[in-house]
């Protein structure tokens, strides 16, 4: 009995001895878990081959806003890979990242993009085809809380952009989004929580989801249970990445951290993104994976909302439009 206990204890502590030459911490948002599992493995192999050094990338996942908050509060992230530029801006505003971060890497520092689609139950029993169907009475819509979740903010803005384009005014768009949130029975804090609510707990008729998250749900639970419905118009979501300057300076990991993020723009990186249902930037890879993505007309946040800072202030800040409509 004693020996058994000792063996178990030895096993427990032995595991702690794994040490790579370099360790990076990547603080990311909710749905990228599988993506970064793949990407980190590929990068570690490529880096080892290139330099002969082993690198271990640790991951932390959560709601994008909450993760940014943790980094501001001192979580020692070498890189942040969040759901939207505003959350990295918030870290930059505290001086942890240079204000020009979005210019340091190509394409707004967003190596992969996504969009917002609908996930419905098999056979689409509520006949949901486009945004208009979401405000019908009796349709339960699952979307997380835009205050804490990046994906939820993209969901909200996609709905708003659709309504503004279709009905022609901000006032009508506000009414549309208000009607939509009347159909939301529960606000989870993160995108993954919302997916679990919809998929696992069986709550709701339609899940507003990242395209990659919707495809992942199909892969995990089988296409016989759910269907993806692509709206005609949606938003181009650009999840950005950045090196956290203060942390890499302190740890001396700037070179590795930058190599890590640049690896996203390589063919291998783009391929990994595409395989995980994130839209690649590379035209060749995009062409090769064309069939894996729905054809959706996409608008950008700059087109419709004049950028993240403005959108954040108008819609999601304390007392902003989201607060006004969700209160009523």
């Amino acid at each position: 009995m004693h020996r058994l206990f000792l063996a178990a204890a030895a096993l427990l502590w032995a595991g702690s001895a794994i040490a790579a030459d370099i360790t990076l911490l990547n603080v990311s948002y909710d749905p990228t878990r599988e993506l970064y599992t793949d990407f980190n493995k590929a990068f570690a192999a490529a880096y080892q081959k290139e330099t002969g050094k082993s690198v271990e990338i640790r991951q932390s996942h959560g709601g994008s806003g909450a993760q940014a908050r943790s980094v501001i509060d001192g979580l020692q992230a070498d890189v942040v890979t969040l759901a939207l530029a505003y959350d990295i801006d918030a870290i930059a505003a505290k001086g942890l990242i240079g204000a020009d971060w979005q210019k340091r890497l190509p394409q707004n520092a967003s190596p992969y993009t996504s969009t917002i689609v609908f996930l419905v139950r098999k056979g689409n029993p509520k006949a949901i085809k486009d945004w208009d169907d979401l405000i019908k009475p009796g349709v339960d819509v699952i979307t997380p809380n835009p205050k804490t979740s990046g994906g939820a903010r993209w969901n909200y803005l996609a709905a708003w952009g659709f309504a503004q384009k279709k009905y022609g005014s901000a006032e009508k768009a506000k009414q549309f989004v208000a009607d939509l949130y009347k159909n939301v029975p529960v606000l989870d804090t993160g995108a993954r929580g919302a997916t679990v609510t919809f998929v696992e707990r069986g709550v709701g008729d339609v899940l507003l989801a990242w395209e990659n998250e919707a495809y992942l749900a199909l892969r995990e639970f089988g296409a016989d249970k759910f269907e993806i419905v692509a709206p005609k118009l949606s938003i181009l979501a650009e999840p950005p990445v950045a090196v956290v300057d203060t942390v890499v300076e302190k740890k001396g990991t700037r070179a590795v951290a930058e190599t890590y993020l640049k690896y996203w723009y390589s063919k291998e990186g783009q391929e990994i993104a595409a395989r995980n249902s994130y839209r690649p930037r590379d035209p060749q890879i995009a062409k090769a994976y064309e069939k894996s993505f729905a054809s959706v007309e996409l608008f950008t946040i700059d087109d419709v909302f004049g950028g993240w800072t403005k959108a954040q202030k108008e819609h999601f800040a304390e007392g902003g439009i989201f607060d006004q409509i969700y209160k009523n």
Binding site: L12, G15, L25, D73, G74, L75, R192, F221
Partner: protein, 333 residues
């Protein structure tokens, strides 16, 4: 899924409450967390000392309810417990073993799971041992001395019981976060408290503080100071008095407190979640890992870890029952 935390947490309502009805013909009323552990000195009128004969008869025969009422009450109690305690517990194990015993052990020997188990044990060891010391000191101060602000101190000890664990976590973010009160000082000295073991241990320490103190205070108050006074008047030093007189008197109560403290320390989710940073393989405790794995659709792994926590809860329950019996033996000569 919430099993592993809800079991220890039920203790919140009565950290030392061990109200029970003796099976003898007289009801023994026991103080529930009050100063008196023994029913004979409780504020309620003891059935043996007051009241007229009719009253006594009514009290003496608690089984005067009609047969069907008794059956109904017992059925409801058993059904309730089965649905809310036994069934979830079985489901946790059923899920954990749903893909066979190999998958179960593979899940538990995953580096991330091992790291979570290690961290949980470490944090529990730190917070329980510190709470043991602080709890004994606090209980000692409250039970043996009279001083101004004593009630305030008692209320403060209870504070972690009444504060939501999320707030308990946020308090430490405000104190030790990079933007927090000590943030600049800690950063300039290169000390990482938040999102590392110290922060997790602190948050756990905070939420588990009341258990030891709460288990000891009534016990020590009841025992009074005479034995210590006698020891000192016979020439014992302070430490001798503590180890030879006080400690033997409180040891079972102390064990009881430590047990509950440990159960909560290992099961704590809310406060730890706020200060952990969720770095995989580094700052995830077992309860956090259960949630993460569940959210990654790794149900077997998730419930395998959950089953460990559930087992811990069961062991705690058994140990608690044994200890209570021990404590009761001391009460009833």
């Amino acid at each position: 899924m919430s099993m592993e935390t809800s079991l220890p947490r039920t203790e919140l309502t009565s950290p030392v409450g061990r109200g029970r009805i003796a099976s003898s013909d007289a009801i023994r009323v026991r103080g529930d967390g009050g100063p008196a552990i023994d029913g004979s000195s409780s504020p309620q009128p003891s059935p043996d000392t007051g009241g007229n004969r009719a009253e006594r008869a009514a009290i003496k025969n608690p089984r005067s309810e009609p047969h069907f009422v008794r059956i109904a009450i017992i059925t409801i109690a058993i059904a309730f417990l089965s649905i809310f305690v036994v069934l979830p517990l079985i489901l946790v194990f059923a899920q954990a073993f749903s893909k066979g015993i190999n998958a179960y052990f593979a899940a538990l020997s995953d580096p991330e799971a091992l790291s979570a188990i290690r961290l949980t044990l470490l944090v529990a060891a730190i917070s329980v041992s510190l709470n043991l010391v602080f709890g004994v000191i606090a209980a000692w101060a409250i039970a043996k001395f009279e001083f101004a602000g004593k009630t305030v101190l008692i209320s403060l000890i209870d504070l972690p019981f009444s504060v939501s664990p999320v707030i308990s976590g946020l308090v430490f973010v405000l104190l030790f976060g990079a933007q927090g009160f000590f943030g600049a000082f800690l950063a300039s000295h290169g000390v990482q408290v938040l999102f590392a073991v110290p922060g997790i241990a602190l948050a756990t320490l905070f939420v588990t503080f009341p258990f030891v103190a709460r288990a000891l205070i009534p016990l020590m108050q009841e025992q009074g100071t005479q034995e210590e006074e006698a020891a000192i008047s016979l020439g014992a030093s302070g430490l001798q008095t503590f180890f030879r007189v006080t400690l033997p008197n409180i040891k079972w109560g102390l064990l009881y407190g430590v047990l509950l403290c440990n159960a909560r320390a290992m099961g704590e989710f809310g406060a730890v979640s706020v200060v952990s940073g969720h770095v995989r393989g580094l700052t995830n405790t077992m309860p956090l890992l259960v949630e993460i794995l569940y959210n990654e659709y790794q149900f077997v792994a998730s419930f395998a870890v959950a089953s460990l926590l559930a087992m811990l809860a069961l062991i705690t329950l058994i140990a608690k029952t044994l200890l209570e019996r021990r404590l009761d033996e001391r009460d009833v000569p």
